[in-house]
Amino acid sequence: MEVIPLLKQLSEADGIAGHEEPVRVFLRQTWQPFVDEMREGKLGSLIALKRGIGSEPRPKLMLAAHMDEIGLMVTGIEKGFLRITRVGGTDRRVLLGLEVVVHGRRDLPGVVATRPPHVLPQDEREKAVPWDKFFVDVGLPTEEVERLVTVGDLISIRREMVELKNRRVAGKAMDDRACVAAVTLALEQLSGVRHAWDVFAVATVQEEVGLKGAITAAYGVAPDLAIALDVTFGKHPGVPEVDAFPLGGGPAIGVGPNFHPGLVTRLKEVAEAHEIPYQIDPIPGRSGTDAWAIQVTREGVPTALVSVPVRYMHQPVETLAAQDVERAGRLLAAFIAGLEMDFMEGLAWEDS
């Protein structure tokens, strides 16, 4: 599978938090040839099982990458214009002049409208527009709008993926479709590979609004180990150096209280053995990813986080290096292939 066309399809698919159906349908089709079983969790996470060959009872590894993206929602209709709110952490600063799609009775193209700077007082021109001053304009007469659109309808960002130089690509929803792509690549690489553990690949829902898919899917799967995949801050002007990871430097592996040191060590060893460049991401507390939820499920799950550096997070120009996605996929596949049946025993804290 070529990673750039895969990224394009994933990035352009719709799947706002709480309403992930379109991207779930795409994933079902895409993962079908690589897994043994698939089901949907109670909140809509896609849970796919690829069985291992170890003798029963086989230990379970859960991979989690979230398929939901941030977006907008209609909160009211005024003179044919749509009032909006966000779903997840949509950044107000990038909305002006954005092309969107309103998912009413049918999909309606629209524009995020606001007043031109010429008529605004100076102090308002210098501030980001507050939410209650945004409107979406679908360019139709009021009666049409009232017939086609209702409160609660979703609005997604219309953005086609773009290829930049050096195999870098930019688009919406790379958070976290880039990692969904990495998991897809890993599953592809594992078909035909004999691995001991059962692998549950989970495309979680509603990460952007509270890690909800991860909380519930992890409870349902009850894995012995988990690796979450999410994006991290790519290096660019404006991002403090300690938080930034250069594009093309390879996936980042999280270290800190959210991650089991034994699991982290193994990931590093695998990366080094397979000459996969990687970076270390020190996280002193909350990681803000599915890993944070999974780690405290039931009686606890040793968890790790593998991240793909992405610039301009939560903006419709999220930019990444295709190589980093490929490397993340290879790292996962190599890790899984080498995971021995009694790996858990080696994870016991030294002093117990």
Binding site: M73, G76, V87, V151, G152, Q206, K212, T216, Y219, G220
Partner: protein
């Protein structure tokens, strides 16, 4: 139903001290239900067993459904009694200092207090902070003060009924969420046959931590959960825009700041409303959440939604709802429960 509502709203029951309101609700529901229990944190769980409809012969056509309304109300808790017998306090749940100035509060044993504001504030034009407020129970020193650190009080306001041609407005403190408790009790009272296994849960500690709904739902492990709570309206002067209005029917929640309603639950409520010609509104609440946010995350997940009763002046001592909306809420719940 007005008497029931009056009884519920005027009863003492801040988060964490729900004994009195639980006793009142228990007295109302005990004769109506099969099984009744109080769970570890104090939520009252009432079970109405489903029965397959006559002649259908289909086993398992019903679902296990939780309907939740929280019994606790916001209030204040004494944090310190000073030398002169004035009590400093903190809030229980979302209390604003704006509603405190000059308010009257009552403790569990009926002791009444008045909330005073420090006159020597740096900026008298700003809303006072909690540190600048105090409760006066008429004591003269720490020793003769009848209240102590840890004592909880609620706001005092009588229930009022405003009958108008366009509709009757009901006003009281603790409409959030005693009005929903009333809706649940009335629904249980009028529910004859249902194919579903229904749990009416009167939960504790919603205003502080959503703890009661979370733990009671874990105990029941339902297929579906509906929280019944109040929501704001967009029909007051210079208020934040919102599509919900008083008197236009119960609101079906799409999302709020803590959760996105499961499309299946949302659509079920909308469907039943349409079929039975019950007026309804769709609701997006930008600030605030309900027990549904906690219930949906229990175990492997519970598809959850919320039926909201439009309410003006939430978290003030004069919360206002429309009686028609309340009755339509009962109607809608009955429609949901009657059919598979």
């Amino acid at each position: 139903m007005r008497e029931l509502i009056r009884k519920l709203v005027e009863t003492y029951g801040p988060s964490g001290v729900e004994e009195q309101i639980r006793a009142v609700i228990r007295a109302e529901v005990e004769p109506l239900a099969g099984e009744l229990r109080v769970d570890p944190l104090g939520s009252l769980v009432v079970h109405k067993q489903g029965s397959p409809s006559a002649g259908s012969g289909q086993a398992g056509e019903g679902q296990c459904i939780v309907l939740d309304a929280h019994m606790d109300e916001i209030g204040v808790m004494v944090t310190y009694v000073d030398e002169k017998g004035f009590a400093r306090f903190t809030r229980i749940g979302g209390v604003s200092p704006l509603t405190c100035a000059g308010a009257r509060v009552a403790f569990a044993d009926g002791t009444v207090g008045v909330i005073g504001v420090e006159e020597k504030r740096e900026d008298a034009s700003k809303t006072p902070k909690f540190e600048q407020l105090y409760i006066d129970v008429g004591a003269t020193s720490r020793d003769d003060c009848p209240v102590h650190v840890g004592d909880a009080a609620v706001f005092v306001r009588p229930f009022v009924c405003m009958e108008r041609a366009q509709g009757t407005r009901l006003i009281a403190k603790a409409m959030d969420d005693r009005i929903a408790c009333a809706v649940l009790i009335e629904t249980l009272r009028r529910l004859e046959h249902t194919p579903h296994d229904v749990y009416f849960v009167f939960s504790v500690q919603e205003e502080t931590t959503l703890s009661g709904a979370r733990t009671s739902t874990y105990g029941i492990n339902p297929d579906l959960a509906i929280a019944v709570d109040v929501t704001g309206t967009g029909d007051k002067p210079e208020c934040r825009p919102m599509a919900v209005e008083l008197g236009k029917g119960p609101a079906v929640k799409v999302q709020d700041s803590g959760m996105i309603a499961h499309p299946r639950v949302r659509d079920l409520l909308v469907q039943r409303a349409k079929e039975a010609d019950i007026p309804y509104q769709l609701e997006v609440l930008e600030r605030g959440t309900t027990n549904a946010a906690a219930m949906q995350l229990v175990r492997a997940g519970v598809p959850s939604g919320c039926l909201s009763i439009p309410c003006r002046y939430i978290h003030t001592p004069s919360e206002m709802v429309d009686e028609g909306d309340v009755q339509n809420s009962v109607q809608l719940l009955l429609e949901v429960l009657r059919t598979a």
